[in-house]
Amino acid sequence: MPDPRESIPASPPALTTDSGKSGISRRGFLKGAGLTAAGTALLDGVQGFTSEARAQSPHGVTEFGPGAIPVRLHVNGAEHTVEIEPRTTLAEALRIHLGMTGTKVVCDRGVCSGCTVWLDKMPVNSCMTLAIDAIGHHVTTIEGLSTEEKIHPLQAAFVKHDAMQCGFCTPGMVMTCAALLERNPHPSEHDVRHAVSGNLCRCGTYPKVFAATLDAAGTLRNA
């Protein structure tokens, strides 16, 4: 295995934003900022971060990026190492770098939940989560919900109730509803509505999403 430190620039260039059009936007700042010592809690997952690297920092603080660095992510039960810029979102790391395109990016700013994945069973918007913030967490994506042997009862219920049309919101819906069932085995329809209140479906499939989730809850309780 090559020494991952080689990909860490000795003298990082200045911070950049993702768009020069209108100054630094809230999200541009989030995505553009290099990893600084403020993120030291995460550094264990950044490969090659050693006391030696820390000592070599020219700014007195530790910085990674904006160039690509190797990052170790734990996704669907397997370890993956990806070479990503620190500004890379978890959604981008999954879709572009790991080829796990089941997770969809729709609004790209945390309002539609199309990109929902779990961090340790907590549903998060992966478009608003930096990949480096997922270090040390167990990431579960739509691809990891079912196993080879067994379809997750919620996914089966989505098919049974026809809880999808174009299907683009479906992975996010499923991840949100499956997380609900993890924390509440006895949801009411109100609970389901509340859980998916951040999930946008443009085809208007909500009634069947409610029915499928309540049905799957019953299946899981009786399992």
Partner: protein, 795 residues
């Protein structure tokens, strides 16, 4: 010029193919079911009975690709990654109206990772000047903020975005107008320096060509029937209303975009589109290459709702960048671009007048409508006024008003939600004035036999029976009300519908069509048809769609897909089964005429052959496969049953202090010929209702009058209903046989509630409060203003 004899012979043959006479079920089972005679080509399959007597068709079969979608394994265009693929990003106009002096891409070209730059010479989507000489500029004139100007292809999405920001565009700005009422003023800045019409690729959403144009007003387009002046003279009662609806954007979850891979002999394009064949045609035409050199693939697409036809700017620009760079190029729009540059539902501003006799007989319908499709056309909304009721006279005038905003495109039942919002409220006004029940007035004015049945179902429903006919009767600040409205759509047949069925020697079955699944579930329906023919479960049929390598499929717009394609699939399956029986008959020691394929078995009329399974029979084929391709034949009786629709009932609660409207329950009674798969059909109707409620209560494209830009091009300030606003929806699917094709299916996408729910909600609000709201979106501010204007002192 005299015709050659051979040509005459061919014409005669084409004009008189062998025919047979069949009896077909027509009408609504349980209400009006009868038989009608049709003369059909002899090659047509036997007539199907009504759904209850079929095994797979008409049943709620699970979505063929449901598990792929639920498990995140369905591959959309946004998911396509090809080796060496570049990421492209548009440079968009930042001003609403300008001549472009220069576009300097030098800094962008030098940016690390950039592999190609393309400056747009011909922008698609905007209306085009009848006299192009009026715009002699080198670059396309900017007619709206957000118009694509150039594009960058780079090795990462970041590099493309950063380089796009380095492109320097020098504008010579011009006065602009973004308010569609101000744009009608003779002194308003003109969006176009002369008359302009919709360009070719509007996807069915464009307005008429060649009509008069004065300033920004493109129209009127006039439609008349009878003498409306006389009609109003004959009327005992006249009602009139002024209705205003807003611009809505499609907001499909997957944005517009493509991955284009230009190779010398073949351009392969993965496209998020409603029409693989249309994308292919536009690209071949744009680059002047044969159709055979373009292949378009759409495995899955994340919603279109009318906006995704043709290659459009993303398609041609990505292909041009791929050609330049020699690498595949991905160009998916971002959410802001999706709101600005690839279509919307036009606004409307309508004055509608209806005259009637005391008994409810309509003597005249008169509509003057304006609306803006931005810098495109297609704001006409007279469809419902022209087609829902049979008034003695009719006069409609439709006008497009140009403003400096992105061009509209077709959106789910173009013009009809707007038109029905006015028409169905005016009908309710008329009912009040005539002291009639709204449902009785419609029985009088609407002769459509299926809607008559649908109104009967509404009459007998608990929901309608619970309606208090006295408007505003509830005490207290939160008032409950119930209203109804009707929907109309049309039987459009796409003759460009083709399919192929293959029977393989191992007994496996395949069906191919270039058609794309836009979410309505065409794969499932195609599998059901083969299942019905061959007696094999639908999940065992291999359905291959979304690729122009297959026989050309219909483009999915105007509710044509199921209606047009399913008879083709059935014809191909039937003809393949006949060829199959003829092929295996000798091996079974009998003749083709003796054999029949029933319930997955080959059986013999004569009893000479013991029944054998289809799979075993297939092993006796003399060839490795039997393939039959079929095309759409015209409807059996194209003069009959041209429209269909439904009736929607809404129950609302109006909080008269907060101004909030909550839709509690909806009863949605709809017909679509033979429903092929009720589960999928109900999904579409749920969707129509929900999109319609969203349009009625929330959605609004807001343009800043000072800067001419959209202020809410996102999904947080552009409000769309979510899970908590979804009413309880009770869909009653009405089987309505028409005797029109071998499957007798119609479409449902457009008629599915989106047309009528807005007016149903408004009529329910009137029933709750006694106040009529003629303006969408019915936000709390609009509701409170309407209550105040009518001097309603709330409890």
């Amino acid at each position: 010029m005299t015709k050659e004899p051979i040509e005459d012979a061919l014409t005669a043959q084409a004009a008189a193919p062998a025919k047979k006479t069949v009896q077909m079920p027509v009408g609504v089972p349980g209400y009006t079911l009868a038989e009608e005679t049709r003369s059909v080509p002899a090659t047509e399959p036997p007539v199907w009975p009504i759904n209850k007597d079929l095994k797979y068709v008409g049943q709620p079969i699970e979505r063929y690709d449901g598990l792929l979608k639920a498990c995140g394994r369905a591959r959309y265009t946004a998911d396509v990654q090809l080796p060496g693929m570049l990421y492209a990003k548009f440079v968009n106009a930042t001003v609403p109206h300008a001549k472009v002096v220069s576009i300097d891409t030098s800094a962008a070209e030098k940016y690390p990772g950039v592999k190609g730059v393309h400056v747009i010479q011909h922008v698609l989507g905007n209306a085009q000047l009848r006299n192009p000489a009026l715009d002699p500029a080198k670059y396309p004139v900017v007619r709206y903020a957000g118009q694509p100007m150039a594009a960058i292809a780079a090795t990462t999405p970041y590099a493309a975005e950063e380089a796009a920001a380095l492109v320097k565009v020098k504008y010579d700005t011009m006065p602009f107008v973004v308010d569609d009422v101000k744009a009608r003023d003779p002194d308003a800045p003109n969006v176009f320096p002369g008359a302009a019409d919709e360009a070719g690729s509007a996807g069915g959403g464009g307005g008429p060509h060649g009509v008069a144009q004065t300033g920004n007003i493109h129209g009127p387009s006039i439609h008349k029937r009878g003498d409306s002046e006389q009609g109003f003279k004959d009327a005992d009662v006249v009602v009139e209303g002024h209705y205003v609806t807003q611009v809505q954007t499609h907001s499909a979850l997957e944005t517009h975009g493509v991955v284009a891979d230009w190779k010398p002999d073949l351009l392969t394009v993965y496209a998020s589109t409603q029409g693989t064949s249309g994308v292919r045609e536009e690209l071949a035409g744009f680059f002047k290459i044969p159709l055979t050199n373009v292949r378009v693939i759409t495995e899955y697409m994340g919603g279109g709702f009318g906006a995704k036809f043709g290659a459009g700017n993303p398609g041609v620009v990505a292909a041009a960048l791929s050609k330049k760079t020699g690498a595949p190029v991905r160009l998916m729009l971002d959410r802001q671009e999706e709101h600005l540059s690839v279509g919307n539902r036009p606004s409307s501003d309508q004055v509608l007048r209806i005259g009637a006799k005391k008994d409810g007989t309509l003597t005249a319908i008169h509509l003057i409508a304006y609306g803006t499709a931005g810098c495109g056309t297609g704001a006409g909304c007279a469809g419902p006024a022209q087609n829902l009721y049979q008034a003695a006279s009719l006069h409609t005038e439709e006008n497009d008003v140009f403003i400096n905003a992105g061009p509209a495109s077709a959106m789910r039942a173009p013009g009809h939600p707007q038109g029905a919002f006015a028409l169905e409220q005016t009908m309710d006004d008329l009912a009040v004035k005539l002291n009639m029940e709204p449902i009785d007035l419609r029985d009088k004015a609407d002769t459509h036999p299926v809607r008559r049945v649908e109104r009967q179902i509404v009459r007998e429903s608990e929901l309608w029976k619970s309606r208090n006919p006295v408007a505003g009767a509830d005490q207290g600040p939160v008032k409950r009300g119930i209203g109804l409205a009707q929907s109309v759509w049309y039987r459009f047949v796409s003759m460009g519908s083709n399919a192929e069925v293959r029977i393989h020697k191992d007994g496996s079955l395949e069906v191919f069509s270039g058609v794309q699944d836009i979410g309505s579930g065409i794969r499932t329906v195609m599998a059901q048809i083969l299942a019905e023919q061959f007696g094999v479960p639908p999940s065992q049929i291999a359905v291959k769609v979304g690729d122009t390598n297959y026989p050309e499929g219909p483009q999915s717009g105007g509710s044509v897909t199921t209606l047009s394609l399913t008879p083709v699939v059935r014809d191909a399956a039937w003809q393949a089964s006949q060829k199959f029986l003829a092929d295996i008959a000798p091996a079974l020691g009998t003749t083709a005429g003796d054999l029949v394929l029933v319930d997955g078995e080959v059986r013999s009329h004569s009893g000479k052959v013991a029944p054998i399974s289809f799979k075993r029979a297939a092993s006796k084929m003399t060839t490795s496969q039997i393939a039959v391709q079929a095309k759409r034949i015209p409807d059996y009786d194209p003069k009959k049953y041209l429209t269909y629709g439904g009736v929607d009932v809404a129950e609302v609660e109006v909080d008269t202090e907060a101004g909030r409207i909550h839709v509690r329950r909806v009863l949605s009674v709809h017909d679509c010929g033979r429903p092929m798969n009720p589960a999928q059909t109900i999904s579409q109707i749920n969707g129509g209702i929900i999109q319609g409620i969203s349009f009625t209560l929330l959605e609004n494209r807001l343009l800043d009058p000072k800067y001419g830009v959209m202020v809410n091009p996102d999904l947080e300030q552009y409000k769309i209903v979510g899970s908590r606003e979804i009413p309880e929806i009770d869909v009653r699917l009405v089987e309505a046989y028409l005797g029109q094709s071998s499957t007798d299916a119609s479409g449902i996408g457009e008629a599915a509630g989106v047309v009528s729910i807005g007016a149903a909600v408004a009529n329910a609000v009137y029933n709750a409060t006694g106040v009529r709201i003629r303006h969408t979106p019915m936000t709390p501010a609009v509701v409170l203003a309407a209550l105040r204007a009518q001097g309603k002192k709330m409890a």
